[in-house]
């Protein structure tokens, strides 16, 4: 009896691990972007190496790319020179080494973790890596997907393999069903709150149970995306009919007879009944609420309807609250916000934009609040515009941008000012993550949209039940 992780791992062992050496693990799919790849190409060049299997690597530009239309399509230079240099470097590296690049003006460009699934490049049972910790996103398809460093990006380019020790397994089962207003983002924030931000270290998570089975693929990606915020390298969800329906007919998914064979294989991947995990926890979906972070890591999380916890004799906790300018024991509801960010590889997909737009329709964003909506990919942008979501955001007073990581990481100049509060659908509320001194409150698109309307942290159920 094997877990899904075990099956995928064993199917990719080129050389199994021994006491002396880690396993040589084959990598099916490799995603690269402009920030963590330049030094890897430099090593290849220095050593006179080529890319072993260029067709298994896909490059795009997302982290430092502008989201202003004129800087991408209008002939206006990219405002940040170092970003422009980095982008030019990726472009020339891809030409030199024969790697496919979804370039700045491509209508297939977007955040790596959005476009992989979107085109069917991401498939069940694969090993998928990228020099980005949110590679865990792709585990939503039953792939073993994890973030790597730049040295390892070089290893994959040169050999299509990585040296890896086998991680432990951790089953997270969520029974029941989620209540109205409680989203996949609230589910994963609850899980991180439960196990802590180091709770998954050394483990691959498998999300299971009725709540997980009922999630759409986009929601599953939101959950797996933040596995790293619990310290886990990867998170996985067994593929099922939802997965196959999502993938079927996507441009890079198997077609015709190959599709049938692929699905037959994918059906064998789920963990066997009775397979044992190194750790297990169980949650109940009906007990979960809309969640928001109040501190400086994603484990410092609470119900939007609750009060900030109190902890005695914990200077690190006190330091976090001092940075945030928040007070233990105070309710988080009603806390004024300056900025609202809707986007990122966590919540920048079409269903996320629909959910925010549904709440914003007919409302205005509160005076003095700046709202930025950044689709996760150019395809998401196009689809959103086709159904008029851009009009809803613009009419409500939000800015509608080109795709990219944007204000999640603030590398492209989309930042939050020092001391300002940002309610953000992204994945990290670390000090300075959205700009030096920025104070980030992580929440779902619904909670972000509700808070945008009131200009204060707001439980989205106030609107949904109205």
């Amino acid at each position: 009896m094997k877990t899904m992780f075990q099956k995928v791992w064993e199917q990719h062992e080129v050389v199994p691990e021994t006491a002396d050496t880690p396993a040589v693990l084959y990598v099916d799919r490799h995603l690269i972007h402009e920030v963590t790849s330049p030094q890897a190409f430099t090593v290849l060049r220095e050593r006179g190496l080529s890319v072993r299997r260029p067709e298994r690597t896909l490059a795009t530009i997302d982290h430092s790319s502008p989201t202003r239309t004129e800087q991408i399509f209008g002939g206006v230079p990219i405002a940040i020179e170092s970003a422009a240099t980095q982008i030019a470097q990726l472009q020339s590296n891809c030409v030199e080494f024969g790697v496919e690049l979804l370039d700045l003006k491509s209508d297939q460009r977007g955040i790596v973790h959005i476009i992989g699934p979107e085109f069917g490049f991401t498939q069940p049972g694969q090993t998928i890596v990228c020099g980005d910790s949110h590679t865990s996103t792709h585990g939503a398809f039953g792939a073993l997907a994890f973030g790597i460093g730049t040295t390892e990006v070089g290893h994959v380019l040169a050999t299509q393999c990585l040296l890896q020790r086998r991680p432990r397994t951790f089953a997270i089962t969520v029974h029941g069903a989620l209540s109205s207003g409680v989203t996949a983002k609230d589910l994963i924030l609850s899980i991180i709150g439960e196990i802590g931000i180091g709770g998954g270290t050394g483990h691959v998570l498998e999300y299971r149970g009725a709540v997980v089975r009922a999630l759409s693929m986009e929601e599953r990606m939101t959950v797996c995306n933040m596995s790293i915020e619990a310290g886990a390298r990867a998170g996985m969800i067994a593929p099922d009919e939802t997965t196959y329906a999502y993938l079927k007919a996507r441009p890079r998914a198997p077609q015709g007879g190959a599709w049938e064979r692929a699905v037959a294989h994918w059906r064998t991947l789920a963990s066997d009944t009775g397979a044992s995990f190194d750790r297990e926890i169980t949650l109940h979906g009906s007990k979960l609420e809309p969640m928001i972070t109040y501190g400086t890591n994603p484990g410092m999380v609470m119900a939007v309807s609750g009060s900030i916890p109190e902890r005695r004799d914990d200077p690190v906790f006190d330091k976090a609250l001092a940075y945030m300018g928040l007070h233990a024991g105070a309710p988080i509801g009603g806390q004024p916000v300056n900025v609202v960010f809707i986007g990122s590889c966590t919540n920048g997909r079409l269903s996320d934009l629909r959910s925010a737009a549904q709440l914003l329709r007919g409302h205005r964003i509160a005076r003095g609040v700046r709202a930025l909506v950044v689709p996760g990919s150019q395809q998401v942008k196009k689809a959103a515009e086709a159904e008029g979501l851009d009009r809803i955001f613009i009419d409500a007073g939000a800015e509608w941008r080109e795709s990219g990581c944007s204000m999640c990481i603030g590398m492209n100049g989309d930042t939050v000012a020092s001391g300002e509060y940002s309610i953000s659908t992204s994945n990290r509320n670390f000090e300075g993550r959205q700009g030096p001194g920025a104070r980030t409150l992580l929440a779902s698109p619904l909670t972000a949209a509700a808070s945008a309307v009131r200009g204060r942290v707001t439980d989205p159920r106030d609107f949904l039940n109205a």
């Binding site: 040589v24 084959y26 970003a83 040295t151 290893h155 050999t159 393999c161 931000i197 180091g198």
Partner: protein, 192 residues
């Protein structure tokens, strides 16, 4: 890479848990295409005020922290982003080892590949080190032990192959390239 056998140094201490890689090197400094010079931006938002002046009270800015090659920090050091710029910045600044009761997975892997030793110790040792900045310690990679002032010696875990590479100054890429035959055989037999 230079072989590493032993590191002997006083410690600098950051007594915080969950120090993430965004603190080690903020994202705005990742718009670079080389790995050089990142020590300048190590812990930038903790080390410098908004105007760019050094914050005198920050642990690494204290005169006694100058020249320390071993950094001690609270549990779960290096969590967050996979940026290898974090160990590059620590190394460029002059650190050769990081000691914590828990070190995040990707940061540990990145550190080992660059010759920054990620040393995990038990709670008792970790707490003692946090409370004694400037302690003179010796990390011996050959015997995988940490010697504390007063002569106490504690063992630390380190992945065996990474240890071999560090002791011999070789890198993993050479090992992988030497597996070409196995990789080709796997590709012949593997599903697409």
């Amino acid at each position: 890479m230079e072989p590493i056998r032993q590191i002997r140094s006083r410690t600098a201490v950051l007594p915080f848990t969950n120090i993430d890689t965004d603190q080690i090197i903020p994202a705005r400094f990742l718009r670079t295409t080389t790995r050089a010079g990142l020590g300048q931006q190590l812990f930038a938002d903790w080390r410098y005020s908004a105007g760019g002046a050094l914050k005198p009270e920050f642990a690494l800015n204290l005169p006694e922290a100058a020249g320390c090659a071993v950094l001690v920090a609270g549990r779960n050091f290096g969590c967050g982003s996979s940026r290898e710029h974090a160990p590059w910045a620590l190394l460029d600044y002059g650190f050769r080892a990081v000691i914590s009761t828990e070190i995040a997975d990707i940061f540990r892997s990145n550190s080992l590949k660059n010759g920054l030793l990620p040393i995990e110790v038990d709670e008792f040792t970790g707490q003692w080190l946090l409370e004694h900045p400037g302690a003179e310690v010796t990390i011996d990679l050959d015997s995988t032990t940490l010697r504390l002032p007063g002569g106490n010696v504690v063992a630390f875990p380190i992945e065996g192959f990474a240890r071999y590479c560090l002791l011999n100054g070789v890198d993993e890429l050479g090992f992988l390239i030497a597996r070409q035959a196995e990789i080709s055989a796997y590709e012949q037999g593997a599903r697409p």
